[in-house]
Symmetry: C2
């Protein structure tokens, strides 16, 4: 039996959004869900217990980064990534493709795979679909992602077409290489850039390969939001209804809501954790840049509508002091808040789907958030 199995619970009568459950070897995930990113075997600044406390059901980790440091051998000897980092809930690992392609001049694409130099020490490496699966097998993630190319934006049609077709060929090789199907599941990735017909082509090619889940890659790469929503709207209809759909690298509050309405079940993004370490909070009234002088003597919580640990215990003035003095606790408290904000947003979204009122919820949310729809 496949390690990961999706159960579609219902569809929102108002919006068409999906409510589901994803059964994995490390527990059941309620969808739609946001997945915090733990790039280097740690969600930056957080302990596993804190992640659970704020409602994280699954985290994402990075094959490329873990392959570089600490390396495959050490995680193998540790008994896999779950044990190494002390996280007993589900893990999704990306394939390393996105990171390797981001290396720009440091990498060279062949049909066989990608040759690249380490961003750390310049050492030479080669990752192929087979190698990516081998590493992900060692990591022992519940969900493994196919080794794909995320085409840059903007990109010529010919480039994108060639690239997506190679991604399909690579997916076949990934599936071939992956034999540990009872403990780990492989998801394919639809590409096609901003070309709707190429999205259709890719979605058909990718879903022709029978897998327990499919992702949409290559969005939120610099294109305007309306383009992303438009492409998304023309991609999800080509994905099977009985499989989970994962929109990669997307994590702003508005994009999560818009994505769910367009039929997406899973999201991940470094945004909430990255901006937290920069001193920016996501709140129900929009962004709060804690560093701003406005908050110097503001003894109210970050978000008056939030009941996270940070908002229950600390003032904006104290958080500003921590951020201005580069204190680790500042990064921690903002990370807790931002992740809690997105995770509880998704909880409210699930609630709204249950009650067939997701469009109403979107309207309410955006009226506070200060965003026009």
């Amino acid at each position: 039996m496949e390690a990961v199995r999706f159960e579609l619970i219902k569809t929102c009568k108002q919006s068409g959004a999906r409510l589901g459950k994803l059964h994995t070897p490390h527990g059941v995930i309620e969808t739609p869900i946001f997945m915090p990113v733990g790039t280097q075997a740690t969600v930056k600044s957080m302990t596993p217990e804190e992640l659970k406390d704020i409602g994280s059901q699954i985290i994402l980790s990075n094959t490329y980064h873990l392959y570089m440091r600490p390396g495959q051998e050490i995680i193998k000897k540790a008994g896999g990534l779950h044990k190494f980092m002390n996280w007993d809930k589900p893990i999704l690992t990306d394939s390393g493709g996105f990171q390797v392609f981001s290396l720009g001049p440091l990498r060279k694409i062949h049909e066989e795979g990608v040759e690249f130099r380490s961003h750390l020490d310049g050492s030479k490496h080669f990752i192929s679909p087979e190698k990516s699966i081998e590493i992900q097998n060692t990591l022992g993630s519940d969900i493994m992602m196919a080794f794909d190319e995320c085409a840059p934006y903007p990109a010529e049609r010919d480039y994108v077409k060639n690239s997506l077709e190679r991604t399909t060929r690579w997916l076949k090789r990934c599936k071939e290489a992956h034999t540990n199907t009872e403990k780990q599941s492989l998801f394919g990735i639809v590409q096609g850039g901003m070309y709707k017909d190429l999205r259709e082509q890719s979605a058909k090619e990718i879903t022709d390969i029978e897998l327990p889940g499919y992702a949409i890659g290559g969005l939120s790469v610099g294109e305007p939001k309306n383009v992303m929503y438009d492409v998304l709207e023309h991609t999800t209809p080509f994905l099977p209804k009985d499989k989970p759909r994962y929109l990669m690298g997307v994590g702003s509050p508005d994009d999560l809501i818009e994505g769910v309405i367009r039929g997406v079940d899973m999201f991940d993004c470094v945004l909430p954790t990255r901006i937290a370490r920069n001193g920016t909070a996501m709140t129900s009234m929009g962004k709060v840049v804690v560093r701003n002088a406005t908050y110097q003597e503001d003894f109210t919580p970050l978000d008056p509508n939030c009941d996270c640990y940070t908002c229950r215990n600390y003032s904006r003035a104290y958080l500003r002091h921590l951020v201005k003095t580069n204190e680790i606790l500042g990064a921690r408290l903002l990370t807790i808040h931002n992740l809690y904000f997105l995770l509880s947003l998704m909880e409210k979204v699930r609630e709204a789907i249950k009650e067939d009122r997701l469009l109403d919820f979107r309207k309410e949310f955006f009226s506070n958030y200060g965003y026009e729809i």
Copy 2:
């Protein structure tokens, strides 16, 4: 009534070390005790709850740093330091003297006080004994320290004598300036460098001024350990038995034990938290430099004899990975461990005093710790 009151419970028959209780407006502290340092209104990387979980009874914070950032006014408006940082247990604040004197060429000493330039923006400031008390009154710490000069090491006898006599004059002015005695207590500081007769002179002058506690400053400033122990041994006998004795800036495991045996009740030091952020752990077998390649595939805990959160859940290999990749969680986990190590060491020391076997305990401790006595 004085805000802070010391109760001497007993003296160890084997070592002469003291067991006591320090009653403060924010609770009772069992002594001997180590006080974690929260320089900028945060013990670096730790939440207040985590500090309590590992047994912190009191923390120290820094007048100079808080005066610079966020500034006196903001903490006043927040309702004091306890409220600002969300810590409801006792706080001790230093006077700012040590930091100001550390500024070297940036400061100038007058009888009236010290003129200095900010280490942050070069702006001009002036701190006098009266100003230090005023700031500490605003902070609302349970224990305030007198504004003193910590003479450098080495220093000429004449310099040290002049300096300690000024410190006495400054203490009188501090006491005069401090009227909030029901909510905050002032401790005097004995100086005198490495000159035993000057230590005696200072101790007599300082303790002639009636106060609820006395500190020993100017040790652990670069002198050899045996010199420090020797000077300490010739200072504590001049301090009253019914008042707490605080050895400032001392916090290595061996120094804590040696200090307690020489009659000290309270200690503080940035050492455990600072070396933690550098990737060094204090363990029952001595220092562990986690970064070392030795620990690359070491899946045992930092200290097999420790039951802190870090040792119960993570391997040296994982901690090394976090330290090598500069992950915040690495600094956090090592800080938790190091503080727990010192706080539980002091708990064992208190237990040993109760049972009149502190010299035996010292012997056992050092036999594992790899330190000759």
